[in-house]
Symmetry: C2
Subunit: 232 residues, 2 copies
Amino acid sequence: MTRIAPTTTKGIPEATIARLPVYLRALASLADQGIATISSGALAEAAGVNSAQLRKDLSYLGSYGTRGVGYNVEYLRFQIGREVGSAHEWPVIIVGLGNLGTALANYSGFSSRGFRVVALVDSAPEQVGRWIHGLTVSALDDLEQVVASTGAAIAVIATPPGAAQAVCDRLVGLGVTSILNFAATVLVVPEGVNVRKVDLGQELQILAYHEQRKSDDPRVFDGAYAAEVTPA
Amino acid sequence: MTRIAPTTTKGIPEATIARLPVYLRALASLADQGIATISSGALAEAAGVNSAQLRKDLSYLGSYGTRGVGYNVEYLRFQIGREVGSAHEWPVIIVGLGNLGTALANYSGFSSRGFRVVALVDSAPEQVGRWIHGLTVSALDDLEQVVASTGAAIAVIATPPGAAQAVCDRLVGLGVTSILNFAATVLVVPEGVNVRKVDLGQELQILAYHEQRKSDDPRVFDGAYAAEVTPA
DNA sequence: TTATGTGAAAGCGTTCACAGCC
DNA sequence: GGCTGTGAACGCTTTCACATAA
């Protein structure tokens, strides 16, 4: 029983939460450079956001800055990290070891951010037993045991679209409550389970939409017009 | 000179544009199932959105439905596809062929959505000349020629964080105007260039935030409380 | 009768601008 | 004097609810 007070639960906006990891990364980089203190303006620039936005975001977590001075890099880093859950090292399992799943299993960006890939699962018999990045691939049939033994609450789905919902249902049934979905399908989950979708094709399509606009009329920058403002 | 009228440029909200690919995918799936007509309610469910939202989104494109009936699947698919730029087949180049870049080069989800990976580029001499998915890896030094000969306006950056901004600058200098960034860095680009970021570590951190909240208090679903509503 | 298309309302998120504190 | 923290204004997004059309 850690924190009991329920109404104390801070209502941090979802948009802010999505930016906290960006701030963390910027702070890590500053710390590496030996910078001890930073202003909201400079940190905002490093994170690619407006400085007012940064200050408002941080104000949801608490008052960690010093007026007239700025923020202590290490202290702020610790506070944001604690909020995001970096104190903990989260075990993660990956289901589906095609090209993408295999790349994710080897991806170093997870471990550097407080996640540890603890199990790999695939349904194809030829994948099972394969050795990837220090782990052997388990059979989908053994999913129950894999989840139970690792205690993972977070799973990555990188299966073909057709298999994703079934895998998701099984994971949820075994107690997984956070899913990162790379499959090109909309997953339906019960309340209390969080899903984030990464659809690579979709990202390119959004770029293509803007690209098409640009080629329609070279002066168009993203639907709005650049320059030609105040034609003297 | 295709469409000249500048003020005719429809102001489709960014949030809507981001959902169009989702609708396209749902429509493709319906078409495969042989379904010819669909209501906003059913399509919204397949896409995982509210039906009012779907109708409002589609209304920005035009009036493609029939009152009292619904939408013709193939016709709507064509209209959305045209808007997003699926008519065109977009050439894409990938820079950085580590685990992730290699997986992307092999990823089938791009070609099925109107994109063709036309060139692979890496700075490491041991990568250059490697044969991946029907393409040989070019040297970063040859970037100018690669962009010129392929005519790609869209590039994927999957380099280490430290190299990303320099690669980005070179790409932009060579005329690339849309970038999908997998590197864990904030890219700075001139106006008129679109960047979309996919940060896998960040996605997990957002899930971890919510996960932490859940373990603080098992009754908490995402900051809000579930059940216990109307305690009889 | 049924389901779209859309003004109007409500809800969020961002930005401004300045009071408060070092 | 300088920079944080924050109410208030603004703008964008979602949802409602109904007029409109088949």
